[in-house]
């Protein structure tokens, strides 16, 4: 860890004024401080934003609004969240550990960095950390890496669970910057790595996430968040699937699907959704529709199983969400 300035802000404007190139916003610190200890992140100024008025969980006409500084555990336990979008609560509770969820903020969760072990080791090359230095994961240890949205520069997965649920539900993020605010679909907030994997999202310099807005879909209470991993807790996903499905008289009316652990960003599965609509809600339909989930997948030496696992996870999640046996 390198020496750094520490500043606190109590208004969003103050925080934005304190921001400068090389500074970082500190909320729960569960990613930032970790990566500072590893020398992966070396901000020269850390701006503590915990006092900003970016809290609150409210149901508005526009949707479920979650302040960026709400803690993961508070959001997971919130009765409105549990009632309106239980998938969000489930995705949060399957993340990290109780201690981390008590600290980590929703905004910080969306901003968390990849768990690629090459990114996290400063002795390794990494195009995300040191642009142009190369990607050892392409030929190295890559069992946990992405099969979708990858490039020759980067195959790191996005690590968030709740972002997968948000993307499935079509959530938007409200951003605040020196030039005012803007609202971006979370799916578009994240960038594919392409040749610039160091650019992970559309945030401009000094911009921050103020709020997440999730549309209300009454039928989306029939949902699940399935997380597949080697051990049963405290591990990032090999694959995860956020699924909400509206079944009437045995036929799929509408569906929302997104996957985690397989993409370089939270991966909305639109082709699968389209294939499901109007289909009979049985396992066979789900399995046939899931085939298109891996279109364009680029498996690596150790993660080829993820193409099969993703399809199987989709089927399992749909069976759970639809209550079909």
């Amino acid at each position: 860890m390198r020496a750094f300035d520490y500043a606190t802000a109590s208004t969003v404007d103050d925080a934005l004024k304190l921001a400068r190139p090389g500074s970082a916003f500190l909320a729960g610190g569960t990613t930032l401080v970790d990566l500072m200890k590893l020398d992966v992140l070396t901000p020269d100024r850390v701006i503590d934003v915990n006092s900003l008025p970016l809290k609150g969980i409210r149901l508005h006409a526009g949707g479920l609004r979650i302040g960026a500084l709400e803690r993961m555990s508070d959001v997971a336990a919130h009765p409105v969240v549990r009632a309106v979008h239980p998938m969000i609560s489930k995705a949060l509770l399957l993340s990290a550990s109780g201690q981390l969820r008590n600290m980590a903020s929703i905004g910080g969760n969306l901003m968390q960095r990849t768990r690629c072990d090459y990114f996290r080791d400063v002795t390794s090359a990494c195009n995300k950390r040191r642009p142009g230095s190369g990607c050892p994961a392409l030929t190295g240890v890559n069992r946990g890496h992405a099969i979708l949205g990858t490039s020759d520069s980067c195959v790191a997965t996005h690590a968030s669970d709740v972002a997968v649920a948000f993307v499935a539900l079509g959530a938007q993020v409200v951003l605040r910057g020196k030039d005012g605010g803007r609202t971006v679909a979370l799916e578009d907030f994240y960038l594919l790595p392409g040749s610039t994997p160091d650019r992970e999202n559309v945030l401009g310099p000094g911009e921050l996430i103020a709020e997440v807005v999730v549309p209300v879909l009454p039928w989306a209470r029939h949902s699940t968040y399935l997380k597949i991993r080697d051990r049963q807790s405290y591990e990032f996903a090999l694959t995860s699937v956020a699924a909400a499905v509206d079944v009437k008289r045995g036929v799929v009316q509408d569906v929302r699907l997104a996957a985690g652990g397989v993409g370089t960003k939270p991966w909305r599965l639109r082709a699968v959704e389209e294939a499901l609509k109007g289909g009979v809600a049985v396992e066979r339909t789900f399995a046939d529709a899931a085939e298109s989930a891996v279109d364009g997948a680029r498996p690596l030496a150790h993660n080829a199983f993820k193409t099969s696992l993703l399809k199987r996870s989709i089927v399992r999640a749909l069976l759970d969400a639809a209550g079909v046996r």
């Binding site: 072990d117 090459y118 069992r143 597949i228 080697d230 051990r231 696992l309 399992r316």
Partner: protein, 714 residues
Amino acid sequence: MIGQPVDRVDGRIKVTGAAPYAADTKIPGVAYGYLITSTIGKGSVTAMDTDAALASPGVLAVYTPFNPLKLFAYVQEQNDERFPPLQDREVRFFGQAIGFVVAETWEQARDAAGLVTATYQQQPPVTEFPGRTVRKFEEVEEVVGTQDLGDITFTASYTTPFQHHCAMEPHATVATWNGDHLTVYTVSQGALLVQRRLSETLGIDPAKIHVLSPHVGGGFGGKWGNWAQVPLACAAARALGRPVKAVLTREQVFAMAGHRPMTKQTLTMTCTADGKLTSIVNDGVTSRGLGGNWSESVANWTLTTYASPNIRVTKMIVPLNLGAATVMRAPGEANGSFALESAMDELAGQLGIDPVEMRLRNYATLVPNTGKPWSSKHLDECYRIGAEEFGWAKRPKKVRATVDGDWLVGTGMATATYGAGRGQASVKVRLHPDGTASVSGTAADLGTGQYTVFAILAADELGLPVSRVRPELGDSTSPAAANAGGSTSTGTNGPAVQLAAKAVQTELITLAVTNPRSPFHGKDPASVVYRDGSVSSGGVTMSFGTLLTTCDVGGVEAVGTSPRLVDPEHGYRSFGAHFCEVRVHRLTGEPRVTRWLSVCDAGTIVNAKAARSQIQGAVVMGIGQALLEATEVDHATGRFANANLASYLVPVHADIPKIDVRFLDRPDPLVSGLGAKGIGELGIVGVAGAIANAVHHATGVRVRDLPITLDKLL
């Protein structure tokens, strides 16, 4: 009292944070050391630029191979580092210590370490099988009979990956000198191991080295050895004239503080149509890290487990550019049993014989490789009780026969055996005027329960409640007791505790009849009786505390020494049988262990509660070995790629079912008067095999490469 369930005597201070661990040691004026490690896997350091680090705030010294602290070569080949750090410029593995920064604060030392740059002459590291430098048939052991080999032949290969101990407590050492006397607070599985190693490399009399390691936050073999931070902290403290503290980071622990080597076993077995083995050949291959000396005798478990007229085991060693391979959680036996227990299950399946019956048909009533009798063996009873309690008879013969919802259900079993014996140990018992007794030896408690074993055995012998006995471990000035390794602590130290507690009674009686202030003064010692903490004679009874107070004596003590067991006529092992149920999801393939029973024949059980915990803990580690644990190497650099506790997976609570443990509790008549054979590592042996067998029963898929992860079951 022996065999009752007794709470850990050190439990309260551990859960309240009062137990002092090495890194907690606070010494005024302490300086902090931070290791600089190599960022290549093989080659040499040609230059190091330390100017910026030396100019950095608070920095006291930067030691490198170009400006080393003098350390003498290690004399004994132990299972830790082969070379003392910084004494040459060769890089043998990624993460090798190539520098040591000492500063006023830990943060300053770490910051300065980041400013040091090293220039290397680099070579490609060799980090996987087959290395080009395989030394063939390093060791061969075989038994050759004359019997016909039968008709059935089975052959298969089994592999196990690198693994790491992952003790919660990282390796920490605090060194302080007083003149030419060194005091070291450090993590260790045996204070005398540290003393001996430091005497060699620092070039000083061991009598001038005082090692304190009272509490150890898990060892599992990884703290048997002394790693780079130990000599560096001591030598830097001497050079700087200040106490120095050094703690390895988690990543440094992975790189340099020992790992379980990678292994491959190829088993070829022949048997008759009714399943009687006629030959077993196990060709074992094991890696040896070039940072160390040690390699694992992975095939040797095959020598002592099942009866067969022909047994041949071989061992090939592949040197790799890695830190030292070292002992970890039943070295050799945990991996060795995975292969043989899987193969027995496969062969039984091929012949249509029940797996328990298969093992009974090949039951070794004599030690298979020597033909000698066992000191005691009740393994057949373990099988019988285990099968009955587990409901083995209801097990479907076919694989993939049981489905519960979306889960495929299977059951499996395996044999456990682990070496037993008794080394030499000395222990001191002292009676104090306050009515308490202390019992001390250099032994270590890594969380194993050794403190409580000392307390129970002394309390039992002295007729005192456990609460009045104070065990004192981990101090090199105590009498030389067994180090914590090879599951021998209780079997070796226990008899010495009993001898010392008996001997101190004689000392007390001698005091009673010779001290003029004693009410027993002048009596015939034969007429004086010690019982339950009191001395009696002629109708007068006095507690030892009152007697010592009356006599104005500060205490009486005695050392008991139990000799090493030398018995060339018998084989000594502990035995057990594991039974488990595993569920595998039909779609996504996750294997989950859902039921467990272990039945153990480990001789006398001293503390029923801690013994149960020992087996349960070992089964948890076995579940980790079977399903989760593997350290991956980035072959381009030689770096352990998942050297952190998020990416190297050990089981969490949710992975562990209720673990049922039964002990036969039959004293071994030959190992010692106490009859305890040792249980620490027994519990992990066979676990991976039992799980692999249950996974096969559930799914029909045989996984021969650990860990059994879901990708192998899709």
